[in-house]
């Protein structure tokens, strides 16, 4: 099987080169059949990479330890679920997954655009296939997943127990689906620039692709945070580590693009800016992959000390040069149809929101690259720590949150005093009253109060929008409030999906604010039978027991938790020692509730059964995960195709028509 896999990758390499050349040649010679051939080659690459994936999966499941990769990431004792996940548990496999997703996206793009965007497609195909080539080259030359060991070991080393967590299984594919997904908008941007078809058609074609990529990336980031929270035992979910930053940066510029593209669609403005954002987002995706794979920056996460760096940098430089050259060449055609008329208008509020997004991205980039920059400039490596990121990003983030309340409601062109009063009087009053109430209830943390005030304001604007929309809907078509509410969302999925996403963001801000401003952290040393008080909780330490499992040995403490004098729950923080890897792990005991998480780890114990616990009380963390779910929901609503049949006077893209037709048959 391994021979087949390796051969498939090499063959795919040749086919991808063919696709790039024949597509560009087809444009030059104006030969449609050549472009069709490039399309078929794209399917071919997808098929071949799929064969390689299946071959590696087969080798994993068959425990074929002759393969170095299989031996290093899996073992016989591992549950099948994790053996499958080991497919992306190591460097080579995860790059193969990256490649496979890219090949799949490319094939989907070709299917979707058989009859549209014909002038763009040759460039789209060659851009996507060039990226495919990058990964194929790295897999064939440097990181061959099918490399054989000189002797077959009896058993593999197995996956690190810290990674044997369902969240860690789905986290990487989500991130890759996001990273890879941004290749499609980029390819269309290049296609539009190269072909000169710079009207809004290409923008419409990539809207869903961008949203899908953005959604997966966001979900991937949140899952990573959640994994760190439940698995790593330091009580937090985000540490401004370079790897985390690497995934956050393209998300920021991608989000900026999702907003500013609306201004281009509606007003024909910000065309160059949007181009720049698409290019930047993709470049940052590649840069992020480079950061995580090349070991240039020290991180908590293991960075491979691999020789992939030059490949990524060369490719990155290449795409930037090509994209910028094309962009400069097309500048005259990208002039705005309108000009900004007022500072207090929707157009400018979107512009400001974009500046904030890009500002945060730049701050994160600066902080991440600071050791390298300072070494180059001053000859000393200077690093910036988490306080830098917080100091810079908290004010910017709050400014952005505030704009998320303002942008959707403020009038186009120029907002009148009446418009401002009508939309913002109630939300501002709501925010003021509840914030004052929070103050009297004893919340005195200034930043937290500001944050909650803005959250309340944004929440108020969203509620007001839904209320007014529902009322107007009911006035025209009758029915119950609920029917009107549903039909309101249905008739304008994009707008109301967007509001729901904003609501999710508000929840996430509430969670971040609560857990960072009011976290309690306490060390408690207890002998069996003793108890301690942490925050509002009482912890009674009952006993420590030892268990032997097939893969590990566990020491489990039993804690009876009470609150306000009443029994609440029993928690079992654990220390494990995994035999195969000789690796201790700390299992967090967590009790989540709406308002606070009780988070306990066993820091260590003595033979006398005296245990040192580290106890955290993390307020409002649950709101963050909820916010994530709400964001997913809102995005799905926004992506979902419109149901209305194409009527006169309404422009429909071919995709929408196809989708509508498909739904009609159901």
């Amino acid at each position: 099987m391994s021979d087949i896999g390796g051969a498939a990758l090499k063959f795919a390499f040749v086919v991808a080169i063919y696709a790039v050349i024949i597509a560009l040649l087809g444009v030059r010679l104006k030969r449609q059949e050549m472009i069709r051939s490039a399309e078929r080659a794209t399917y071919g690459v997808f098929g071949l990479v799929t064969i390689a994936m299946v071959a590696l999966l087969y080798a994993l499941l068959a425990h074929d330890f002759r393969l170095q990769y299989v031996a290093s990431v899996s073992s016989r004792a591992m549950p099948t679920f994790y053996v499958i996940a080991a497919l992306w548990g190591g460097q080579e496999g995860s790059m193969l997954l990256w490649l496979w997703l890219l090949a799949m996206y490319s094939a989907l793009v070709v299917v979707q655009n058989r009859h549209r965007n014909r002038e763009l497609m040759p460039y789209v195909i060659s851009t996507l296939m060039t990226t495919t080539l990058l990964f194929l080259a790295m897999l064939v030359i440097v990181e061959d997943p099918f490399r054989l060991l000189p002797h077959e070991p009896r058993d593999g080393q197995g996956l690190n127990p810290l990674l044997q967590n369902p969240l860690m299984v789905i986290h990487p594919p989500n991130l890759y689906l996001g990273f890879v997904g941004f290749a499609v908008p980029f390819a269309f941007a290049i296609g539009a620039l190269a072909s000169g078809r710079l009207d809004t058609q290409w923008i419409r074609s990539i809207r869903r692709w961008t949203l899908v990529a953005w959604l997966f990336l966001g979900v991937g980031i949140l899952l990573g945070g959640q994994w760190a929270y439940v698995e790593l035992g330091w009580g937090g979910y985000w540490a401004w580590d370079p790897v985390e930053n690497a995934s956050f940066m393209p998300w920021l510029t991608g989000t900026a693009f999702l907003h500013s593209v609306m201004i281009q669609e509606k007003k024909g403005m910000l065309k160059v800016w949007n181009m720049v954002l698409v290019i930047l987002t993709y470049a940052l995706s590649i840069f992020g992959t480079f950061l995580t794979r090349s070991g240039v920056i020290a991180s908590v996460h293991a960075f491979a000390q691999s020789s992939l760096g030059p490949y990524f940098l060369l490719y990155l430089a290449g795409i930037l040069v090509i994209a910028i050259t094309l962009l400069v060449k097309r500048l005259p055609q990208l002039r705005s149809d309108h000009r900004l008329e007022s500072v207090v208008s929707r157009e400018s509020s979107f512009l400001f929101n974009n500046l904030f997004f890009v500002g945060i991205m730049f701050a994160v980039l600066w902080g991440t690259m600071f050791p390298i920059i300072s070494e180059a400039v001053r000859g000393v490596k200077i690093s910036v720590a988490a306080p830098f990121f917080n100091q810079v990003n908290i004010p910017l983030g709050l400014g952005l949150l505030f704009l998320s309340g303002v942008c959707p409601l403020i009038a186009w062109r120029k907002a009148s005093g009446r418009n401002l009063r009508r939309n913002f009087l109630y939300p501002l009053s709501l925010s003021f009253v509840i914030t004052a109430a929070l103050y009297t209830l004893g919340i005195r943390h200034v930043v937290a109060l500001i944050s909650f005030a803005i959250c309340l304001f944004v929440f108020g604007t969203i509620v007001l929008e839904f209320y007014r929309g529902t009322r107007a809907r009911r006035a025209t078509s009758g029915g119950t409030i609920w029917q009107a509410f549903v039909s309101l969302i249905r008739r304008n999925r994009r707008r109301y999906g967007g509001y729901i996403v904003h609501f999710g963001v508000v929840l996430i801000f509430v969670g971040i604010t609560g857990s960072s401003a009011y976290q309690i952290e306490q060390n408690v040393v207890l002998r069996p039978g003793e108890n301690a008080r942490v925050g509002a909780f009482t912890l009674q330490y009952d006993d420590l027991t030892r268990m032997i499992e097939s893969t590990h040995e566990a020491f489990i403490a039993k804690l009876t938790v009470g609150r306000d004098g009443k029994y609440l729950t029993t928690l079992y923080p654990e220390k494990r020692l995994y035999f195969a890897q000789n690796q201790p792990t700390t299992e967090v005991a967590l009790r989540t509730s709406l308002f606070e998480d009780l988070y306990i780890i066993m820091a260590g114990f003595e033979p006398s059964k005296t245990v040192t616990f580290k106890v955290f009380v993390n307020p409002l963390v649950f709101w963050m995960w909820m916010g994530g779910l709400v964001m997913v929901m809102g995005t799905v609503i926004a992506i979902w195709p419109e149901r209305r049949p194409p009527g006169p006077g309404r422009q429909h893209t071919a995709g929408q028509v196809e989708m509508t037709a498909l739904q009609g048959t159901n």
Binding site: A302, L351, F362, A385, P387, N582, G604
Partner: protein
Amino acid sequence: MSKQHVKLSIGVVVIVTSVAYLIFSGATGSTMYFLTVPEVQQKLTALKGEPIRVAGKVTEDLIDWDVRNLSLAFVIGDGQSRIPVRYKGVKPDMFQTGVDVIVEGRIGHDGVLAASVLMTSCPSKYQEEKSPTL
């Protein structure tokens, strides 16, 4: 340029300068030297009391883990150089002799680096080194 454009430009300039200011002031406030163990030893006296971040390997020397006080004493090294470290906090799961660590803290008068941050490289996602096998 119309009056509105002047206003708009002011808005843009205000945002851009405040971002730049935040980055600049933040960067001067929370920076620390990122050094290797030999570099620290060379400039030991100058670095005393300064916030530093050091990368090194946990050496064969005795590791003292005081469970009750959550205090971990160990030595990091790189080549021939050594620095004693005392870290207040929970011993990370990946911590053991031979692993690469990054510590953040200040060197006191006793020459011991009092660390408030201890990071072990890994959940060995993409790591190339082999984990110890039995």
